[in-house]
């Protein structure tokens, strides 16, 4: 039977949704797990759920399948973890909110505003030579919008990181596994 040495195959990007107890220090434990084992955190987003004693972490990470499997198991092992779910692209409604400050002097402004409209984004601040745009969407939409805005000069970006919910009636609940 073949055995694997540490690296096995291609890097994949995965999104985990983790329900944790809404307590002091839990986020430090999650972050420590990643730094201790040398795993990447591409983005991380935390907020309280409908149950105020429970927080939901959405975490985007990358690694080969063995590493992703370890991440899932190590997250599950934390005492404060209630549930871990890997969010599958196809079965998940995913969104990220991004604020983009883009150069828009008078002569370019209408072009930029057109892009905002096409993407159904919003302008939330306007000054003489810059706009702040708020866009919400999945990775594809945000990537495409940034691509189109880049030639005008992106001055600053703030991203929330991705959040996601499984489509349909399925929910992420239950006790520790």
């Amino acid at each position: 039977m073949p055995n694997n040495d540490q690296n096995n195959g291609d890097e994949e990007i995965h999104t985990f949704a983790v329900l944790v107890e809404n307590k002091f220090g839990v986020l430090a434990k999650v972050a420590s797990l990643f730094s201790a084992r040398g795993y990447n955190i591409d983005s991380l987003c935390v907020g309280v759920t409908q149950d105020p004693s429970v927080s939901r972490i959405t975490l985007v990470t990358s690694g080969d399948i063995n590493i992703l499997e370890q991440i899932r198991k190590q997250l599950s092992k934390l005492i404060d973890t209630i549930k871990v779910l890997e969010l599958d692209d196809k079965e998940t409604a995913e969104r990220e909110l991004v604020l983009i400050k883009v150069s828009a002097p008078k002569d370019k402004r209408s072009e930029v505003l057109q892009i905002v409209e096409i993407f159904r984004a919003r302008t939330i601040d306007i000054s003489n030579d810059a706009l702040i745009i708020e866009v919400t969407g999945d990775e594809g939409k945000i990537g495409a919008m940034l691509e189109l805005l880049r030639p005008y000069g992106i001055k600053e970006i703030a991203r929330t990181g991705k959040v996601g919910l499984s489509r349909g009636a399925k929910t992420l609940k239950g006790l520790k596994n």
Binding site: M1, N4, I79, D80, I82, L175
Partner: protein, 566 residues
């Protein structure tokens, strides 16, 4: 009933089966120490907080019970980090209670403030900073439960000074507060019946099976079940370093230790087996050598209580997430006998042809001292080691016949573990004689705890195998760095016997091989701690050896053997 935070912790420790504490007081833990005195909670004052953690660790490993470690804030707490990490790596339970500056001053860089919570996250199974006295009762209960259930491990409760004196209503029978923590922290999964069926099929098919039994056998109380299974199915058993004692060393099926300094026959069996059943071991890199070449022809079965261990290092054909004892109980009712005389004969021949061996040259051979310890103690002691060559020789030459009779720092390899762990082991199992096999380097790292052994008259028998070297490192330098002995020599070794006398402990200095046996016999008779400084052969090496990063089949047998393995 209104109690202070300190009183609540004492009450809850008692109620949850914690019978003893090891520690050192200081400013930020004084109110709690005051209560320890008033309540007469059993406590051993150590000389270093690291020592306290190793004592609690040793105590747990021989008794199966959990002890508390108590320290002050700042340096007291940071001194526990190595001991906690050691316990975490070897799955040993400890409940550490660290003093902390008062809650209003947390975060102000107050005197002796350290971020104990942050520092201890990576070295504990779980930890708490208790800012509200009303949470204490639940936290202490959960702490003991987390430390001792599932895969055991150390926990820390950071305990601010104001919370130690704050008063609150206390009801000893009260259920813990939050809904989630009222659930068992860890539910032990039932063995998956499909996986068990597959394992049984593989067993029937297998001509050359082998078992690796890890510490899970000991921690899971499954030694009797393992012996029954191995004997009835006639499968040779390899014990990992920490699994020693989980299967009788005197049994003909016993193959000793695998891996880097494993026996030749264990490694040969691993290379040739067609079915490898790992029961509660974690496929450490010192066991597997190069993973790609590990057990190349085998179907691999791995039983572990920790899901994260399954498939972590070695690709596993049949992973079984369960309590190893439940799995063995099932196998014992279902496994059928199969004739494997050819395989057993082969293994027997390896044992005969490639035994552990060392040669005589008139000097004191470290292996000889260990054999003599085995004889003098009639194999009935608790045996502890430091870290280094002596540790490997102890694992090779001692014969453990009972679980919990061997205590060694495996995962972290912590020099200085030996003496404090011995003290803890004697406190945990006072009915058994405790023998520490230590190196001069390892012993030097915690010998201050001789004062603790002397103060409480804890009769640990300490055999220092003194080679004036950091021997294990010297061996690597000899073999892999062309004998460039960079900073491994102690030309001026202290007179350890005199040091012992200075602590009020009997000391022996042994330079002559003829005195080895008689010294050990005398030591056994003394009612108190004893230090024996054995001046052993300085450049003895541990054999066999699998070079770091090589496959187990590339094992070198050492100069005694002229034969090459194929």
């Amino acid at each position: 009933m209104e109690l202070s935070g300190s009183q609540i912790v004492i009450e809850e420790l008692k109620a949850n089966g914690v019978e003893i504490a090891f520690g050192i007081p200081g400013g930020a833990i004084m109110p709690f120490y005051d209560e320890i005195m008033k309540s007469e909670f059993p406590h051993i004052l150590t000389r270093h907080e690291q020592g306290a953690t190793h004592m609690a660790d040793g105590y747990a490993r021989v008794s199966g019970k959990v002890a508390a470690v108590i320290t002050t804030s700042g340096p007291g707490a940071t001194n526990t980090i190595t001991g906690l990490c050691n316990a975490q790596m070897d799955s040993s339970p400890i409940v550490a209670i660290t003093g902390q500056v008062a809650t209003p001053t947390i975060g102000t860089d107050a005197f002796q403030e350290a971020d104990t919570y942050g520092c201890s996250i990576p070295v504990t199974k779980h930890n708490w900073l208790v800012k509200d006295v009303r949470e204490l009762q639940g936290v202490v209960r959960e702490a003991v439960r987390v430390a001792t259930t599932g895969r055991p491990g150390p926990v820390v409760i950071d305990f601010p000074k104001d919370v130690q004196v704050a008063m609150t209503e206390y009801n000893p029978l009260e259920k813990t507060e939050t809904a989630l923590s009222a659930e068992p922290v860890f539910r032990i999964p039932e063995p998956d019946t499909k996986a068990i069926e597959r394992l049984l099929e593989e067993l029937e098919r297998s001509e050359k099976p082998v078992i690796i039994a890890g510490a899970g056998i000991i921690k899971g109380g499954a030694a009797a079940e393992l012996a029954e299974f191995a004997r009835s199915a006639e499968i040779p058993v390899i014990n990992t370093l920490l699994g020693m004692g989980g299967f009788p060393g005197s049994d003909p099926l016993f193959l000793g230790m695998p891996g880097m300094h494993g026996t030749a026959y264990a490694n040969m069996a691993l290379c040739e087996c067609d079915l490898l059943i790992n029961l509660g071991g974690r496929f450490d890199d010192r066991v597997t050598g190069k993973v790609a070449e590990f057990a190349p022809g085998a179907t691999i079965v791995h039983v572990d209580i920790d899901a994260a261990e399954l498939g972590k290092r070695v690709e596993t054909d049949i992973p079984i997430l369960a309590d190893v004892r439940d799995v063995l109980a099932l196998l014992n009712t279902q496994a059928r006998k199969k004739d494997r005389q050819a395989w057993l004969g082969k293994v027997e021949a390896w044992k005969r042809d490639y035994p552990l061996q060392y040669d005589w040259d008139g000097s004191i051979k470290p292996q000889y001292v260990i054999e003599q310890i085995q004889e003098v103690s009639e194999g009935e002691g608790t045996y502890i080691s430091g870290v280094g060559q002596h540790q490997m020789w102890a694992a090779q030459y001692l014969r453990f016949n009972e679980p919990n009779s061997w205590v060694s720092s495996g995962g972290l390899g912590t020099m200085g573990f030996g003496l404090p762990a011995s003290i803890g082991a004697k406190v945990g199992r006072p009915d058994r004689e405790v023998w520490l096999i230590d190196g001069d380097g390892s012993f030097s790292m915690s010998l201050v705890e001789l004062a603790t052994a002397a103060t409480y008259n804890i009769p640990v028998k300490i055999a220092i195998l003194n080679n004036n070297y950091l021997g294990m490192v010297r061996q690597w330098q000899e073999l892999f760095f062309e004998k460039r002995y960079s900073h491994v020599h102690f030309p001026k070794s202290p007179d350890f016997a005199k040091i012992a006398e200075g602590y009020g402990v009997r000391g022996f200095d042994v330079k002559d091989v003829d005195q080895v046996r008689s010294t050990l016999e005398q030591a056994a008779e003394i009612d108190g701690p004893v230090v024996m400084n054995f001046h052993v052969n300085q450049e003895e090496n541990v054999w066999p050896m699998v070079p770091s990063g090589a496959g187990n089949h590339e094992m070198q047998l050492g100069p005694q053997s002229t034969e090459k393995l194929t």
